[in-house]
Symmetry: C2
Subunit: 483 residues, 2 copies
Amino acid sequence: MNAERRFVEELDDFEDDFDRWYVEVVRKAELADEAPIRGMRVVMPYGFALWENMQAQLDWRIKATGVQNAYFPLLIPRSMLEREAEHIEGFAPEVAWVTQGGSKELEEPLAIRPTSEAIICPMYARWVQSYRDLPILINQWCSVLRWENRPRAFLRTSEFLWQEGHTAHSSLDEAEERTKLMLEVYRDFVETELALPVIPGQKSESEKFAGALRTYTIEAMMGGKKWALQSGTSHNLGDHFGKVFGIEFLNAAGQREYAFNTSWGLSFRTIGAIIMVHGDERGLKLPPRVAPIQTVIVPIWRKDAERETVESAVDGVRESLRDVARVFVDRRDDKTPGWKFNEWEMKGVPLRLEIGPRDVAGNQAMVVRRDTHEKQAIPLDELATRIPQLLEEIQDNMFETAKRMLDENTERVSTYERLKERVAANAGFSRVWWCGDETCEEKVKTETKATIRCIPFDQPGGTGDCIVCGKHSDTEVIMARAY
Amino acid sequence: MNAERRFVEELDDFEDDFDRWYVEVVRKAELADEAPIRGMRVVMPYGFALWENMQAQLDWRIKATGVQNAYFPLLIPRSMLEREAEHIEGFAPEVAWVTQGGSKELEEPLAIRPTSEAIICPMYARWVQSYRDLPILINQWCSVLRWENRPRAFLRTSEFLWQEGHTAHSSLDEAEERTKLMLEVYRDFVETELALPVIPGQKSESEKFAGALRTYTIEAMMGGKKWALQSGTSHNLGDHFGKVFGIEFLNAAGQREYAFNTSWGLSFRTIGAIIMVHGDERGLKLPPRVAPIQTVIVPIWRKDAERETVESAVDGVRESLRDVARVFVDRRDDKTPGWKFNEWEMKGVPLRLEIGPRDVAGNQAMVVRRDTHEKQAIPLDELATRIPQLLEEIQDNMFETAKRMLDENTERVSTYERLKERVAANAGFSRVWWCGDETCEEKVKTETKATIRCIPFDQPGGTGDCIVCGKHSDTEVIMARAY
């Protein structure tokens, strides 16, 4: 591909115009490209390789809790989507409708799934008769469609890639337990694999999923403007969907009951979080555990006489790293080493190995960290042990750095004035007391554009005064602007 | 799930009504279920686990040839789909059209991809400037939609899962090489992993992909009616799409040229082939290499006193097999062992281990093969070495059995009468001389419903008389009815 030629330009200043910086990193790191359809993007091979690694790490975690993968149809008849009233109300403005199949007008329009509750629940109704058929624990990896007029790669596109899990249970308690378990799976995945610290908590009534009893979320703080990004949600649907779609079962006592459902999803917008949390003025910075290329080797030689020596050392190094890291050797001969260094930094590769004639003579390689820019010479025969250690150190350092950013830009705020100031100044998350009244929530949203990101599980205890109305409150919430 | 309760019924006779047998196996083995939308199916967890194993085995093979995965939009603007005339003519009758996005009528209808050439080629046109940007080698795993009025699980559904590879090259030769390489990848995958012998060859003009220069195919023979199933195709698109979508590049001499494209796809209809080639009157028979469960262990005990002894032996066996096979222990206590045997045979699990009190006393397990029904006692401490060997033997035996079926039901035919007889009698593949004229091809199709499945690479040499018109011919083709 030809990004190389656009490449010598500099990135827009990271601090000055973070939104523009984001767009440029996506393009220059070759993560995604615009598609010739409004609101859509193409996920390019480098971006998709990142997503595949993320999928693999999340998929085994999901399966380890007893969930199996399956696949449900892309299209949902209108009558089915409309059955749960809040659900359709929430999604109707964003749905794409198929009205023609082949040369024939359809009798009933079909929605391209904006989420799959309305097609999965009718199947569960068919599969469940007795409590012995429960729980049903199913996940699917797919794309969904929600019409979007202000697209932004990964963060907000009309079509996006995700996984959506859907379970059915014989009791509300069991559904609640599953809802929280899956949020914990998300937290563990996002913090461990993506080095993204998050705040887990519950959504307010006004922010919960359309049709849910309650919604849990993990919220991350982005770099730049320090806005929030909802990075995964898990919904306890109660028996709303069970009743509407007739998921009935005979309990052990022989009585008819409706099943309790959960659903939970994590999408490729977490790639947006990786970009915005870890990135810097040189471009992307990928967490080693999911980086498509963990270590790039750049052979350096000027005279043809040097080439053979260098290439053969590089082959040896590559071989010795085969089982310990995902390695790519950049052998292009129409690019200078300096050019390659810039490109691989832009693409966020965690470690760069430079091997030139003098390195070969000294039996060493220069190893450069993407996170700290630290440079060190490492003996060739130690690389196989040192590289994996360094990758772990980088992963840990990236998490710690992000955690520091989150902590340093979170403040307990007790006056509405201070809250407004902080939101206006893009100062990060504000922890405030909230009386629980939607009027207060709405006032903040209208006046500052900040929303309640979540009621964090981690509560300070005690009580305080609602940031808006001053009423007595025992609930602290996180307020911030969000993508 | 509740298939258990429908389960005691017998399968319809395998020989009498193969089509009905197919439908029942799909349902009783819990591979797929009907969806509440005409022409669509739900892939159930057991069927999807099979597909996941197949994907893994095909995906690494594709990547080993230098191809990377990516993701392109689900929707294609009408004007784009219509650009290549033959292409749209071929697909128009099957396309589902989105005409409304959210609450707004769209200015231009968007097609749900029936295949993605028309959305991928415009991107390649943007990405390619110089010969240095070529080749582009990209694959995507996704679902596509082709309206279908007579659906059949896996074989023919409006939405189906597949992979589609799309490449661009600087010469026709290179494109041709890639086209054949990918067909060979398919042949190797299908024969090695799925134990399905196939005949690789070229499609006739009338059967080739809409818009292609030429199409290669692998054709398998199904059990029952001995019809053919096209199991994977690879298309050399020449520069048709390059010209239409403007994929231009500067060659090494500095001249403008159009790129040459290929595309190739393999779908979950190969699951249909697995069912129809290997299945028998007891149900599914899965090739060990892709079976979700390779070995099922059924603990057998009557008195509670026996239970502990048996369960602890079973735990030991399970542990010893952890790294050598995908094992499932069926501990359900509301089903009899005999019931479980039937169910796991229906689900095609290659090996069954029965462990009862007497087996434990004798330090052995009874091991039953799904393919031959052979039963043998194997000492517990030999299981970890014997089970993997047996799985390999089963895989080989399944391939050999299928190969025998293919060979025994293929005949060189020299008269049109004999051809008609064979087709009418569902006697399998006929190898016949064909003059290359579409009139002769069409006559056979109209009069017998048989089509030219392929011009096999493996030609007998020499010449003969066209089966229809008697004209001199040096081309042998395979004729058969097909799904």
